[in-house]
C-alpha cells in the first residue's frame, strides 16, 4: 500500500516535471534559428504517429456507429422514435466515443511504439549520447512526439466522429428505413458547437496524456534493465494511458455537462 502510494507520487511528480519542460521547450524550439528543423521533426512524427492508426480508427468507429444504431433501434421503436438513432449516434460519437476510441487506438499504436523507441534508446546509450552532445532529449525527442500526438489526436477525433455517424447512417438508411436527408438533418440538429468542440478538447488532451506517459515510461527505463525494461515500459504505457484517458474523460464530461464549465 505504502509502496503503491510512493510509486503514484513519483509518477505524478515525474509527469508534471516532464510536462513543464515540454511546454517550455515547445515554445522555445519551434520559433527561432532552429525552428525549421524542429518543425520538420514534428511533421515526421505526425506521419509516424497518426497515419498508421487511421484505418483501425475508421474500422472501429464505423462498427460502433453501426452496432449502436442496430442495438438502440428496437428500444426506440417501442416509443415510435426510431429516427432518434441519428441523435444518439451524434451525441455518443462527437462527445464521447470519437475522442475516446481514437485515444485508445493511439495509445496502442503510438504510445507503445514511442515508449519502446525511447526505452531502447536508453539501453543503447543514445539518450546519454544526446546529453553529452549538449542536445536536450526533451527538446529533441519529447517535444516533437508530444506535439505530433496532440495534433494527430485532434485530427483523428474528427475522423472518428464522422465515421461513427456514417456507421449509424448506414444502419439507419439501409436497415431502419430513415431517408438520407432526414438522417442528415437530425444529426445536424443534435450536433452543437459545444458537443463538437468539447470532443476536440478531449481529443487534444488525450493526445497530450498518451504521449507524455509514453515518453515518461520510455525515458524511465534504466540502461541495465535492457529488453525487459523496454517491454515493461511498453505495457505500462498502454495500461496507464487507457486508465488516464477514461478517468480524464469522466472528469471532463462532469465539468462540461454537469457543471456547465464550457458554457459562457
Amino acid at each position: 500500500m505504502g509502496r503503491g502510494l510512493i510509486d503514484a507520487a513519483v509518477f505524478v511528480g515525474g509527469m508534471s516535471i516532464l510536462l513543464g519542460q515540454t511546454l517550455s521547450w515547445s515554445l522555445r524550439s519551434l520559433v527561432g534559428r532552429k525552428g525549421k528543423s524542429a518543425r520538420a521533426r514534428v511533421f515526421k512524427q505526425m506521419v509516424r504517429v497518426g497515419v498508421r492508426s487511421i484505418p483501425i480508427v475508421l474500422l472501429i468507429q464505423f462498427s460502433i456507429g453501426f452496432i449502436l444504431a442496430l442495438q438502440m433501434a428496437p428500444e426506440l421503436d417501442r416509443w415510435g422514435q426510431v429516427e432518434q438513432v441519428a441523435s444518439i449516434n451524434a451525441v455518443a460519437g462527437f462527445r464521447e466515443l470519437g475522442p475516446l476510441m481514437a485515444g485508445i487506438v493511439l495509445a496502442g499504436f503510438a504510445g507503445a511504439s514511442i515508449a519502446a523507441e525511447l526505452g531502447t534508446m536508453v539501453t543503447t546509450e543514445e539518450i546519454e549520447a544526446l546529453q553529452v552532445e549538449a542536445i536536450n532529449p526533451v527538446r529533441f525527442l519529447v517535444v516533437p512526439r508530444v506535439l505530433a500526438t496532440v495534433i494527430m489526436m485532434v485530427c483523428l477525433t474528427v475522423l472518428a466522429d464522422l465515421t461513427m455517424v456514417f456507421g449509424g447512417f448506414v444502419t439507419g438508411v439501409l436497415q431502419l428505413g430513415i431517408s438520407p436527408a432526414r438522417y442528415y438533418h437530425l444529426t445536424l440538429e443534435t450536433l452543437t458547437n459545444k458537443g463538437f468542440l468539447t470532443g476536440l478538447i478531449k481529443g487534444g488532451l488525450f493526445g497530450l496524456l498518451i504521449s507524455l506517459i509514453a515518453c515518461y515510461q520510455g525515458l524511465s527505463v534504466r540502461p541495465a534493465e535492457g529488453s525487459e525494461g523496454v517491454g515493461r515500459a511498453t505495457t505500462v504505457t498502454v495500461v496507464r494511458s487507457i486508465v488516464a484517458l477514461v478517468v480524464t474523460d469522466g472528469i471532463l464530461t462532469a465539468l462540461f455537462y454537469a457543471y456547465g464549465f464550457f458554457d459562457k
Partner: protein, 281 residues
C-alpha cells in the same frame, strides 16, 4: 609536463550509490595532449569516474575541474557549453539508430553551429575520412559492423573539434584485429590533432599500446598513477619479491594471473561471512 596546468583535475572525489561507496577519495590530474588510461577490474569504479568527468552524474563529495571549470558550479546551460568542447566515444558507439552515419556526425554541427549545410557536409566528409569510414556515410547504423559503429561514434565525437576525448571501453566486444585498429586510430587522433584523451579500459594490450600514463583503480581507490613504462616494469618483473601488497595486486592484474592477492581477497570476501556460513568452509 608538471609545469603545465592540468586540463582535468579530480580532487578527493567520493561517489556513493546508497550504502555502497564506489569511488573513495580519488585524486587525478590529466595534462593537455596526453593519453591517460584509467584501468581496473570490473566494478572498480572506472566507468563511474568517467561519467562524473563528463558531467553525467554528480559526485557525492570532492571537486572536478574540466577545462578550467568546476563542474559542481555549472548549471545545465553552462554544462552544455562545456560539453560542446569535449567528445565521448561510448562503449556501443551509441549512434542514433534512426539516422544515417553521415547524419549522426552532422547532428552536433547542425544543432550547435550556424554553418551552412554545404560546410557541414564538408565537415562530415573530413571527420568520416579521419576514421576511414567515408564509404559508410549513407548507411544506417544497423547495417554496419561493431568496429565501424565505434569509428562512426568517434567521428561524431570529433565533429565539434573537442579538446578532450573520452573513450569508454573502446575495445569492448571487438575482435583483436579491429581492436588494434581502434587503438591505432586513438593514437593517430591524439598525436595528429593534439587532443587530450582519457580512456577507460580493462584490456591490458590496448592500454599499453595507447597510454602515455596509466591510472590504476581498485575498489574505488587509486593504487598508482604513473608512466606506461613504470607499469610495464611492474608487469615484466621476474617475480614479486620485495613488492608491496598494492604492487603485487597490480602485477597480478597486469599479467592476468588467476592466482594472487586479487583472488585471495575475493576468497576472504565478506560474502560468506555476511551469510553467516563462513564457518562451514
Amino acid at each position: 609536463m608538471s609545469e603545465q596546468e592540468p586540463i582535468i583535475k579530480v580532487e578527493r572525489l567520493i561517489k556513493r550509490f546508497g550504502e555502497q561507496t564506489v569511488l573513495n577519495g580519488i585524486d587525478l590530474e590529466v595534462y593537455p595532449g596526453e593519453t591517460m588510461v584509467i584501468m581496473g577490474g570490473s566494478g572498480c569504479g572506472k566507468s563511474t569516474l568517467l561519467r562524473i568527468m563528463i558531467g553525467s552524474i554528480k559526485p557525492t563529495a570532492g571537486k572536478v575541474m574540466v577545462l578550467g571549470e568546476n563542474l559542481a558550479e555549472l548549471n545545465e546551460r553552462l554544462l552544455d557549453e562545456l560539453r560542446k568542447r569535449i567528445g565521448i566515444l561510448f562503449q556501443s558507439g551509441a549512434l542514433f539508430n534512426s539516422m544515417t552515419v553521415g547524419e549522426n556526425v552532422a547532428l552536433p554541427l547542425r544543432e550547435h553551429t550556424k554553418l551552412h549545410p554545404d560546410v557541414i557536409d564538408l565537415q562530415v566528409t573530413i571527420k568520416l575520412n579521419q576514421v576511414s569510414l567515408l564509404q559508410a556515410r549513407d548507411k544506417m547504423p544497423a547495417q554496419i559492423s561493431g568496429g565501424m559503429k565505434k569509428r562512426a561514434g568517434l567521428a561524431r565525437a570529433l565533429a565539434m573539434d573537442p579538446q578532450i576525448l573520452f573513450y569508454d571501453e573502446p575495445s569492448a566486444g571487438l575482435d583483436p584485429v579491429t581492436s588494434s585498429q581502434i587503438d591505432e586510430l586513438i593514437i593517430k587522433l591524439s598525436k595528429g590533432l593534439g587532443v587530450t584523451s582519457v580512456v577507460v579500459t580493462h584490456e591490458m594490450d590496448s592500454a599499453f599500446r595507447i597510454a602515455d600514463r596509466i591510472c590504476m583503480l581498485n575498489r574505488g581507490k587509486v593504487l598508482k598513477v604513473g608512466k606506461r613504462e613504470e607499469f610495464e616494469a611492474l608487469r615484466d618483473a621476474e617475480n614479486g619479491q620485495g613488492f608491496s601488497e598494492d604492487e603485487l595486486l597490480m602485477r597480478q592484474f597486469l599479467r592476468g594471473d588467476a592466482e594472487g592477492p586479487i583472488s585471495s581477497e575475493e576468497d576472504k570476501g565478506g560474502f560468506f561471512q555476511e551469510l553467516g556460513i563462513f564457518s562451514l568452509r
